[in-house]
Structure formats: C-alpha cells, structure tokens
Symmetry: C2
Subunit: 137 residues, 2 copies
C-alpha cells in the first residue's frame, strides 16, 4: 500500500475543522481485477457534510521535481475519477495541494490549462494552520 502523503493528517484535520465528517481513510475503490484494489484509493480520504460526499487526494509536492509530482497527481486524479464514476458517481473528487504550491507552480498558464481541460477540482490548504484556504471547482 502506498505511503500516506506528508500532509495527510494536516488536511484531514483541516476538513474536520470545516465540519466534514471523515468516513473512510483510506477510501478503497474496487476497480478492475482484484490485484488493483490494494493500490487504488489507498491515499484517498472520504468525507461527508450534510448531503455532500467528497474524496480527497492529497499531494504535498515535496519531491524534487514539481513537474514529476504533477504528472503523478494528475494521473492519480484521472484514474480515481473514472473509478469513482463507476462506483460512487455522487462523490466529488478533489486534489488537495499546499497554498505555496498553488501560488507558485499552479500559477503557470500551462498548468492552469491542463487542470481546466481535465476538470481537476482543487482544495488549497495551509498545512501549518491546518486550514483550508480555498475550494476551486
């Protein structure tokens, strides 16, 4: 099972502060043949508030290359979105990223275009304050 992101618990806490009820951590999504299960969704948090249901993929972008992290985050987002659409179409998927990464790397017009074309919904968080700064749909 993949390791949790370094900001996993910061984002979980930030969601709880906005009255989200964490229902699954990890959220395992059955998809494909059995051997895929263990890898798919292991890094997702599922939460509910009133009648809203979300799944949150967390990426700190703490690695050596923002572009490599972005490839990985985007690929995961797309795979999770297709798996969720099959199993839980009412659950909205978000990619949670740190505020400084959003203001720097995601500010690039090319990255914004890729995000927009792939309908990636973002949660921007401040890991130090354990707060959500913005929901971008």
């Amino acid at each position: 099972m993949p390791a949790k992101d370094i900001y996993h618990y910061h984002v979980r806490k930030a969601l709880e502060r906005e009255n989200w009820n964490i229902t699954h951590d990890p959220l395992i999504i059955p998809a494909g043949k059995r051997k895929l299960y263990i890898d798919l969704g292991a890094e997702l948090i599922a939460a509910e508030r009133a009648d809203e249901k979300i799944a949150v993929e967390i990426k700190s972008f703490a690695g050596l290359s923002d572009m490599s992290e972005f490839h990985d985050a985007l690929g995961q987002f797309i795979v999770y979105k297709i798996a969720l659409a099959e199993k839980e179409p009412e659950r909205q998927l978000f990619l949670a990223i740190p505020q400084d990464v959003y203001e720097d790397f995601f500010d690039d017009p090319f990255i914004r275009k890729v995000i927009s074309m792939n309908e990636v919904k973002l949660i921007i968080f401040d890991h130090q304050k354990e707060e959500i700064k913005a929901w971008i749909q």
Copy 2:
C-alpha cells in the same frame, strides 16, 4: 532533467529497425513559463518516417507498483499531449510499454477503460529483441 527509462535505448533501436528516423532525443516541448521547460519532454523521443511524425514516451513499469507507474505514465501522457497540441499538432504521441506489462497489467478491463477514455496510443515492444510488436491506436 529526469533520468531516461531503462528501456529508452531498446525502444529507440526498435524504432530505427522499422525505419523511423530519430530526430530529437530528448524532445523538449516549450510550454508555460520558462521553469517548466527543463522537465517537460525530457523523456520523449521524436521520430519521423515519410510524412509521419511521432513522439514516444517510454515506461518500463519496472518499479515496485504497476499502479503507481501507471499514474505517472498517464499523467505524463496527458501533459505531453496538451503541450504537443499547442506546439506541434501534427505529431502523434505514443506510450511505449513492454509486451509483458501489456499482457498482464494492461489486460485489466479497468486499465483498458482508462486508456480508451484518455485516448492513449500504445507501442508494445519486446526489449530483449529490440522489436516493436504492435501499434495500438
């Protein structure tokens, strides 16, 4: 600059055996702000044959988790495709994968669905024989 895939030269050789002329290795695609350039396309090979132009992303899937490699390969493919569409719309992008990975991991109906929904074109290669076994569009 990211490291080349372990089968980079095997695929390059396989393309040459099918009379493709390698024109760029790496193929650098200008996209976004300057700082993105160095990372984008560094793992791509560009080739031409008659009036066909292709760019090839190579993934050996030699890492610990096929699913993690798949996230990364898919994210890269989508980013490269958007960048190529801006700069060289006539160049077709392919993801080159080993035959055993195609027959095992890519055989999963869920993976096939993701590939199809994202219009990922595949080159299947035999790294030992340095041969292309199939082009799947």
